[in-house]
């Protein structure tokens, strides 16, 4: 019988390496693929992140060991337009983006799926820690990974629903320890490779450089402005609101008692509003750019919502739903950050998600209830 051909997205890390190995074991005809997402000559020196040139070399090495073909796809132009430009646009309007979400749904999976189809691949696999089940009639469901510490479902909410039937996530039921162990047993050179922590196109973790290169000089988001309290009192200066994220601690110096945190960024006045820990908590959230992986839920129903990657879902009630969705948390949540993904769950199942538009205050909720 002819083997089923499957394409594996290989970053050069241990997870995707083992994914490829497991699929070979399971009898698939595996084709490895790595996407070259940005210009490496701009980023000389050793790379800390997985998708750098060393990552490509590692993916090639693993593929050679497994005896599978491996191809590198240059998606630099698409990646720049879909991911980097969006990242810059979000920060420049006082929001905090999730570029990995954007990459998965706008570049990585659609591109691999399209190329894979043209290469006779029946499915695409990746090393994400999520589970997927495929029912009859193209009915697929996405779940959190079994290893809750590694669960990456937060980054996949924006995949078009029609893509799910073609996706495989062989690591969904494994934990990281097991993955490394299996990789060692198979002598994969990536077995003990450290985790990638930074955004691939900001290997230093300092995105200000990137914004300065991409934005016009004197862009408002990079200009000095005032740090104010929620009452409007000016308590300091900043060097550009693009440097801030809602919820981040902002020391004021001068021993002003309690720690302060960024509670809002106001691009129109270039003000960064700070407040106490208590003021960081908000009772509700407005989420836009919605994508549903199941039937769309209805108003007044409850769901779980996760508002940052390192977190968990919390119960919330749908106040209204349409092009955007308004939710009231069961308990107020800390640092509702515009631009970040809000992912909706029913138990472990991902039912959809969106981008946080704004926090909703008590008075907003009162007006809706």
């Amino acid at each position: 019988m002819k083997k089923k051909r499957i394409m594996v997205a290989m970053s050069g890390g241990v997870d995707s390496s083992l994914t490829a190995a497991l699929l070979v074991e399971q009898g698939f005809e595996v084709v490895g693929a790595t996407m070259k997402t940005f210009c490496y000559s701009d980023n000389s020196g050793p790379s800390k992140t997985c998708c750098g040139l060393d990552g490509i070399t590692d993916a090639q090495n693993v593929s050679e060991l497994l005896g599978i073909p491996h191809y590198v796809f240059d998606v630099e132009e698409e990646f720049t337009a879909n991911v980097i430009d969006d990242f810059v646009a979000e920060y420049s309007t006082g929001r905090t983006p999730n570029p990995c979400v954007r990459c998965n749904s706008n570049t990585k999976f659609p591109d691999l799926l399209e190329k894979g189809r043209q290469m006779g691949c029946e499915a695409i696999a990746s090393g994400h820690y999520v589970r997927i089940t495929h029912g009859p009639e193209q009915d697929s469901s996405l779940f959190r990974g079994m290893d809750r510490k590694k669960d990456q479902s937060y980054f996949l909410w924006d995949l078009p629903k029609t893509m799910l039937p073609f996706l495989h996530f062989p690591l969904g039921s494994l934990d990281k320890h097991t993955v490394r162990q299996k990789a060692r047993n198979l002598n994969l050179i990536t077995a003990d490779k450290p985790e990638s922590q930074e955004i691939c196109f900001v290997p230093t973790g300092d995105y200000r450089d990137l914004l300065e290169r991409k934005l016009p000089t004197k862009h408002p988001s990079l200009q000095p402005g005032f740090i104010v309290t929620s009452e409007g009192e000016v308590v300091g200066n900043h060097e550009g609101f693009a440097n801030y994220t809602v919820g981040q601690r902002k020391g004021l110096g001068g021993g002003r008692g309690d720690p302060f945190y960024v509670i809002e960024i106001k691009p129109s006045t270039r003000e960064v509003v700070i407040g106490t820990e208590e003021q960081c908590f908000q009772p509700g959230v407005q989420v836009g750019n919605l994508n549903w992986l199941t039937n769309t839920p209805v108003a007044n129903s409850e769901l779980g919502i996760q508002i940052r990657y390192r977190g968990n879902d919390v119960p919330a009630k749908i106040l209204s739903i349409g092009q955007s969705i308004a939710l009231e948390f069961e308990k107020p949540q800390r640092a509702v950050t515009p631009g970040q993904s809000a992912v909706f769950y029913s138990g472990d199942q991902v039912i959809g998600g969106g981008r946080i538009h704004s926090a909703l205050q008590r008075e907003d909720l009162a007006a809706r209830n």
């Binding site: 070259k36 590198v72 796809f73 240059d74 132009e77 189809r117 043209q118 006779g120």
Partner: protein, 381 residues
Amino acid sequence: METIYLDHAASTPIRREVHKVMTRTLFETFGNPSSQHSSGRKAKATLEKSRQKVANALGADRSEIYFVRGGTESNNLAILGKVQLDLQKSEIPRVITCSIEHKAVLDTCANAVKQVGELITLAVSADGNIDLDHLETVLKMQPTIISIMAVNNETGLRLPVKTIAEMTRFYNVPMHTDAVQACGRIPIDLDDMQVDLLSLSGHKICGPKGTGILFVRKGTDLSPMLFGGGQEKGIRPGTQDVAGAVGISKAIELSVDEQENECIRLAQLRDTLEEGLSVGISNLKVYGKEGARAPHILNVGIADLDSDALLANLDMKGISVSSGSACNSGISSKSHVLKAIYNNLENTAIVRFSLGLSTTLQEIQETITTTQSIVLNMKTH
């Protein structure tokens, strides 16, 4: 599955004749050519014999041939070596090149003037011509160096190097040509083609990797870019790779000797491939066809098809081709060469077939059939 290798513009398999003389040299002529004793003298004699061989093949004098470690190094040395002389005289360098050069020239030129200086990149028309009026204006500015390739590595397009060399001579501007793809594919006679500097690579003509030649015409001064024991008259210090020199000189000698007949054969094979593909694939675009082409490259575009997927499909059927210049990790980047000349490259699969000594008619016929069937399959998917 037998591999059909059609990426000879990227690299070539070593020839048996070359392998044979190199192996013998590695074992028997291991001495340092700079040593005074018999082993050294023997190595030196072998090295100089190789130098003479290269000079004979190119119509040059032995004293004008320098052994370097590859095509990239040769291009770098020619361009940076000239720019360095200007910098030493506190003059602001001005470098001229054209838009379809290999990165080994384009990036070198860009870096040469990065701190101080000016780079002028001339446009090239689809038929390989450069606006001579514009060129004249530029030459009157007395630039440091002009570097124009002889044969383009992606399309096989020939550039009018001889004509340009005559103009540069008139204006007394040093001219370099990257002839890496030209050697063995078009006649090179340095007596006739008055360039001052010329670069060759060993592994593109069935010679060893890591070997290259820089021709420096008598009277042309050049600053070294590496420093050390003064080998190669101080232009390229470092103990010479005698076996490499033997290998590249043999490869050059053979490829020049066989050039006339081999080019007729390659052109026929290329035309067969081109016709065969055109019959089965509608709207096949052939890049470089507007001008004179070297016979070993056929670069085609197929509309509404994914380049990466097509190349991968060909590879999985055992056909090794590329979409242009292979750079780091074999990643094919979108071609700056085609972009400089053609519009409407979006959604077009680009494939460069490059033929060589080992290419047979049967391989070409198989390639036609396989490519047609893959394209048909992809189009109906």
